[in-house]
Amino acid sequence: MLYSIGKDSSVMLRLAQKAFHPGPIPFPLIHIDTGFKFREMIEFRDRTCRELGVRLIAHTNQEAKREGATPFKLGTSKCCGLLKTKALLDVLAENGIDAAIGGARRDEEKSRAKERVFSLRDPLGQWDPKNQRPEFWNLFNGRVEVGQSVRVFPLSNWTELDVWEYIDREKIPVVPLYFAKEREMLIRGEQLISMEHGIKPLAGEKTEMVMCRMRSLGCTYCTGAIRSTASTVRDIIEELKFFRRSERENRVIDHDQEGSMELKKREGYF
């Protein structure tokens, strides 16, 4: 199971616990670590895996890191390609994994609205939106040829609000970055960017203490914060009910080119 440490992954982890209880979760978690994640995310990841006794495979594209892959140097599109897409394909191949479960939801982004629950990928991890298997009822066809794989998205039909309501009901722990507090942030246009991992302010830019929270979690540079005072799960649910901006808006990577998530997916991005 792909584990990104975010709220959707936290829900997935609880569903997996439920599915096999009183037995243990029978599969390992895979985390694609770009090295640019928030410190609090990594702490949360390690604590969670320790407490639940699940096996974690953390994988980093070391070669790209050695060659100095950073979003500042390569641009976000190429950086994602190396540190996320390539890293994911490598770790799946290394471990002989032909089915990977992920927490993607159809309401996140336009191209995901048409994604199947069982998404077939070719040996290069690529998705062909015209060659998908029809899915009837809950009878999923998980058969693959050698080399092919499936990505499985059990949260396909959940919305962002569903996720938070479930976290509230089940009292699922999430990374504290989701909750508002005063944080030192770099202000760039309308974006609030974290100061972790040595980002350099451009001329005329400065940092400020801002009451803010993360709406989704990724790499520090590519995940902007939002101004918010929601400091509990209930606050977040109330905030969402009035919210008029989509969740991924602050993700730099979604906007780097027209139809960008779809292109990334065709190349094998999760």
Binding site: H21, P129, E135, F136, N141, E145, P154, R169, S246, G259
Partner: protein, 612 residues
């Protein structure tokens, strides 16, 4: 796959399907529902505004539901898209099904999980071929509530006569669809008339708006009362706990309830119902739970717990509607894989009763089914399934068919009728099946005491019950007869395996399924057997040495440890595990039945791809 809301059982959720022909204004209607219900975020809206102004319109709502680049370029929808919105009264999931005729299979996909359908009709064009097709598919997939949205009323000056004549034409067609209620709403998605509320453009219409209907019509179809619980997985964290995990397909399961386990027909009582750390008194669809029983029964994936007073049909001969979704037409002489509840088995379409003309609903004689065609067929299954008619029970009445060569899903099936198995009939069928059978050697390898012979016997019983011709070659028996002259040196062991492989090859060539159970410790020997025989499935019984040694059924390990026998595999002679076995069984962690189900499934897959 249930949603959070369903899992939580808290709020009312309606899943509905939208269908219409190209240019009926479906995207605009959905865009309108999302827009008016605040289901669209500001940043999405601003990008649509940008795109709209490029087309010289103020706000093109159809752009909101637009997703993939290819379809944007072609200007048509090419897949099912799911959208989400909510009002204070309800949450909604829209399955946006395409209008384009050749993508009908996606329309069926959307229908299979929907409770209601909104069928769009362009007021200027009336009821089209695609309209009928979509309505029929929705009906076949069990949707019994439909809203006929007659759109673009603004383009015909909100004319009542046109609305009425379309309604009349549609009801005439709808009469032939049993037990279905139709609601007719005249509207304009473009200017919003009657989508959320009426702006008074049609004083002659005093019925509800589209959203009012969506908010008030019942969400759930009538559910079957009989308990059907297909086992998905056996949960055995330790020796003391044995639970059956799965999703309740229909009915209610209660603590203390008497149930029957299929296929064994053993009676037992539900002891506990686990839902994560809680214990429940009862569970119902769509809950996923773990059940324990008071008696020890050996159940595996694909087996079923059912109400003791209402059994499903146990049948290997079913009549069903098929919606053909593959570009390769249906072939009568081909074996397909059938996925029904949590099991996969082999099946053959033995007869095509007729095709259905989607315009007239008349039955047409036909020899095959092409892409997007619907027909009524007879299917012979290699193992009996536990099923109900689809009309009564969606969970046990539905199945899909998979082409074993391409792994594509080639059809969606809905059971109309199932013929219970009778002793005499099974024998006859067996005979005909044997004639068509192609041979295969299933090679069980593993340490002494690993459980090879036990699994082998269970597999033989199951395959024989399915009317297949089976031979068992047991290593111990061979050692006492054919290979009596051989010892246990590397050379003699190789010779032993060579002889077994030779005999297996002869039998396989003559159409038998040969089950070989032999330690066969060396990789090279087994690979040579694979090369000789060709049609070969390797089953690695991977029970660890420590466990085998504790079992020690023939006291051989004890003797080997005491130095009374030499060259014993695992003690002082190596065992080389297979690198790529087709099946791995670990009898330390799974029951004989679980192991044998895995092997039988591999056998069926193998012979289905051979004979077709």
């Amino acid at each position: 796959m249930s949603t959070a809301t369903e899992a939580a059982g808290e709020r009312d959720l309606l899943r509905f399907l939208t269908a219409g022909s190209v240019d009926d204004g479906k995207s605009t209607l959905i865009g309108r529902l999302l827009y008016e219900s605040n289901g669209i975020y500001e940043d999405q809206l601003s990008s649509v505004r940008k795109a709209s102004s490029a087309r010289n319109v103020e706000l093109d709502l159809s752009l909101l539901t637009d997703g993939l680049r290819a379809e944007r370029e072609q200007g048509i929808t090419i897949d099912v898209a799911y959208r989400y919105f909510s009002t204070p009264k309800r949450k909604f999931i829209i399955a946006d099904a395409p209008g384009h005729e050749q993508y009908t299979r996606n329309m069926a996909t959307g229908s299979s999980t929907a409770e209601l359908a909104v069928i769009l009709v362009d007021a200027r064009k009336g009821v089209l071929r695609q309209t009928r097709r979509h309505t029929l598919i929705a009906w076949l997939l069990g949707i019994r509530r439909m809203i006929v949205a007659i759109n673009k009323m603004d383009l015909i000056n909100f004319d009542q006569q046109t609305f009425l004549s379309i309604q009349t034409e549609f009801s005439k067609f709808g009469e032939s669809l049993r037990n279905t209620e139709f609601h007719y709403v005249p509207l304009s998605a473009l200017n919003g008339e009657n989508v959320i509320i009426s702006n008074g453009c049609m004083p002659w219409y005093d019925g509800p708006s589209l959203l009012e209907l969506l908010e008030t019509l019942p969400t759930k179809p009538e559910l079957a009362h009989e308990l059907r619980f297909p086992v998905q997985m056996v949960i055995r964290p330790n020796q003391d706990f044995r639970g059956y995990a799965g999703q309740v397909g229909s009915g209610i399961v209660r603590k203390g309830q008497e149930v029957i386990a299929l296929p064994s027909r053993q009676r037992t009582t539900i002891k506990e119902i686990f839902h994560y750390t809680q214990q429940l008194e009862e569970a119902s669809p769509p809950q996923s739970v773990v059940l324990t029983t008071t008696d020890h029964i050996d159940l595996g994936r694909g087996d079923m717990l059912v109400s003791a007073d209402a059994l499903p049909a146990v049948s290997a001969k079913i009549t069903a509607y098929l919606i053909w979704t593959s570009h390769n037409p249906l072939r009568n002489d081909t074996r397909y894989l059938v996925k029904h509840t949590t099991r996969i088995l082999c099946g053959r379409v033995s007869g095509l009763n007729h095709k259905i003309d989607i315009n007239t609903l008349e039955n047409i004689e036909s020899g095959t089914l092409q892409f997007n065609e619907i027909g009524e067929v007879q299917i012979d299954l290699q193992t009996p399934i536990f099923c109900d008619p689809y009309e009564r029970n969606r969970s046990t009445g539905s199945f899909i068919m998979i082409d074993p060569h391409t792994n594509d899903t080639v059809a969606a099936g809905m059971i109309i009728d199932a013929k219970p198995i009778q002793a005499g009939e099974t024998l006859e069928e067996s005979a005909s099946r044997v004639a068509a059978q192609s041979g295969l050697t299933v090679w069980f390898t593993g340490l002494s005491g690993a459980g090879k012979t036990t699994i082998c016997r269970a597999v033989a019983t199951e395959l024989l019950a399915q009317g297949l011709q089976v031979e068992v070659i047991d290593g111990d028996v061979i050692r006492n007869h054919l290979c009596k002259d051989l010892g246990f040196t590397k050379r003699d062991r190789d010779e032993n395996i060579r002889r077994i492989a030779f005999v297996s090859q002869l039998l396989t060539r003559n159409g038998s399924i040969v089950l070989v159970s032999a330690i066969s410790p060396y990789r090279e020997g087994r690979d040579a057997a694979r090369r000789t025989i060709g049609s070969f499935v390797e089953v690695y019984v991977s029970t660890p040495l420590e466990v085998c040694e504790v079992r020690d059924p023939k006291d051989l390990y004890q003797k080997a440890r005491a130095g009374k026998i030499h060259g014993f595999t695992g003690i002082d002679d190596p065992y080389e595990p297979p690198l790529n076995p087709e099946v791995v069984c670990n009898t330390d962690r799974e029951s004989t039945r679980e192991s044998s189900i895995k092997v039988v499934s591999a056998v069926l897959t193998h012979i289905s791809s051979k004979t077709s």
